[in-house]
Subunit: 252 residues, 2 copies
DNA sequence: GTAGTGGTTGACGCCGCGTCAACCGCAAGT
DNA sequence: ACTTGCGGTTGACGCGGCGTCAACCACTAC
């Protein structure tokens, strides 16, 4: 029954000696014996255990979970399933993120002139070009030009406050929703009323019921907007749209 | 020119007070003034700066990079491009990882009987089912059954040593390659010779030149194998295949 | 002797805060 | 006048998985 010293294990497996000592320290992989000034000696059982550790580690499982599995306290398939769910979430998050970053870069490199819609939402600055075209289709050139003029008339400070204001509205709305209030409740409608007023200021005109509903639809239909709202709270876009529809029903 | 206290900023932006103090500590966002027992007071300039910080943070930029951008020492587009490359890499890595984990789960839940190919490579245990079908197509039922028998005849210890042995071979090969040796050099061929011997033991028969070349082709053609080798060193699969071809030319 | 090799054990650093713990100033209630 | 409570402050530790010193020891070779 031969044994392996630390550097031998290093050569065999490719892990660093520091890693081996770390695993020893946290109890994940302890040498079969130590002697002669603390030198670690591993036997076949430990090597096999290390193999399994490395295998699971390549799946990005945390060491704690790996330990539980190896101790038999946790079923491997069970742990992997949970892990898989996390991986998928993270993968999807990164996919959305890359898209957002790409769009942001396009915006930074594209038209230098900051048109009003750029201010609509700090996060969606990047989406401006596509969004303006969409806006002209939905509301017509006159509406977009009016909004343009209204925002241009603002002071730089006012303009820069726009994303902040949107953020505030979104967070207030998310709070109301988390409290369990339906979108047509008084609490939600109060926030939507502020939203309507703010949109009114941005557009430079009083949105018609149809236009306001259309904006709500845009929030749920355009992935860029949906993503923006989902960043605050998942499903917030749909909730806001509901609230806007209810507001239009009741007040416009 | 009004100012905002810490809790007011918290309400406005949704960040925690701890985060604000952290940003103060690292110099990322310092309050315009402090007074009255250390209370922080922010003005509009700081709120706007915070907005930009949060925007960039949502893109997963590290705080250090955000600081550089805000100080003007780093072009935003430039930083984002670099960041994007990292994001893409990570996204792709996670995509491959989810696939691997999914396959591993399938394997764990599927056939309980561990057939020999399962041991071929620890990481590819999951790929067993697909791989066996592939093997039968490539080498025929007789060859696969022979290998099956050979591995079944091994002791459990021997079987469990198989992935370890593969790992060792792969690492040795990677070292040779990093030293700049071509695949048909003596150094590389020595490793390939060991590889051949080991395959011989696993298969239970002496692989013909054609069969051995076929195995090499599998390494580069099957994404699962390629990924396994790339985990050790990128392009290792191709290098090994080259080496195997050269070995077959010279010795088989 | 001295130098070199190959091992050991701390301990700090990374990143972005969350989460205590301990303290302080001010207002309201007893 | 004392306590209580609120709202703020400042440390300091913890997280994960090691990398990277620094300091030390045992043995061999010169």
């Amino acid at each position: 029954m031969r044994t392996w010293s630390t550097p031998e294990v290093v050569k065999l497996t490719g892990v660093t000696s520091r890693t081996l000592r770390h695993y020893d320290a946290i109890g994940l992989l302890q040498p079969a014996a130590t002697g002669h000034g603390g030198m670690r000696h591993y036997r076949e059982a430990e090597l096999l255990r290390l193999q399994r550790i490395l295998l699971l580690k390549r799946l990005d499982l945390p060491l704690g979970t790996i330990a539980e599995i190896l101790e038999g306290g946790l079923a491997e398939a069970e742990a992997l399933k949970r892990h898989l769910a996390e991986l998928r979430e993270e993968r999807d998050r990164l996919a959305r993120l890359t898209a957002t970053v790409e769009a942001t870069i396009r915006q930074l490199e594209g038209d230098q002139t900051m048109t009003p819609e750029t201010w609509f939402d700090g996060l969606d600055a990047a989406k401006h070009a596509e969004w303006e075209a969409e806006a002209r289709r939905r509301w017509g050139d006159a509406a977009v030009d009016a909004s343009d003029a209204a925002v241009r008339a603002m002071s730089p400070e006012e303009r820069r406050a726009i994303p902040t204001k949107f953020d505030e509205l979104h967070r207030r709305l998310a709070e109301v929703r988390e409290a369990g209030e339906p979108a047509d409740s008084a609490a939600a409608q109060a926030v939507v009323a502020d939203h309507y007023e703010f949109i009114e200021r941005l557009w430079g005109t009083t949105p018609t019921a149809q236009a306001y509903r259309g904006l709500g639809a845009l929030y749920t239909d355009d992935p860029a907007f949906t993503a923006t709202y989902d960043a605050v709270a998942t499903g917030l876009a749909a909730y806001l749209r509901e609230g806007m529809d209810a507001y239009a029903d009741a007040n416009l």
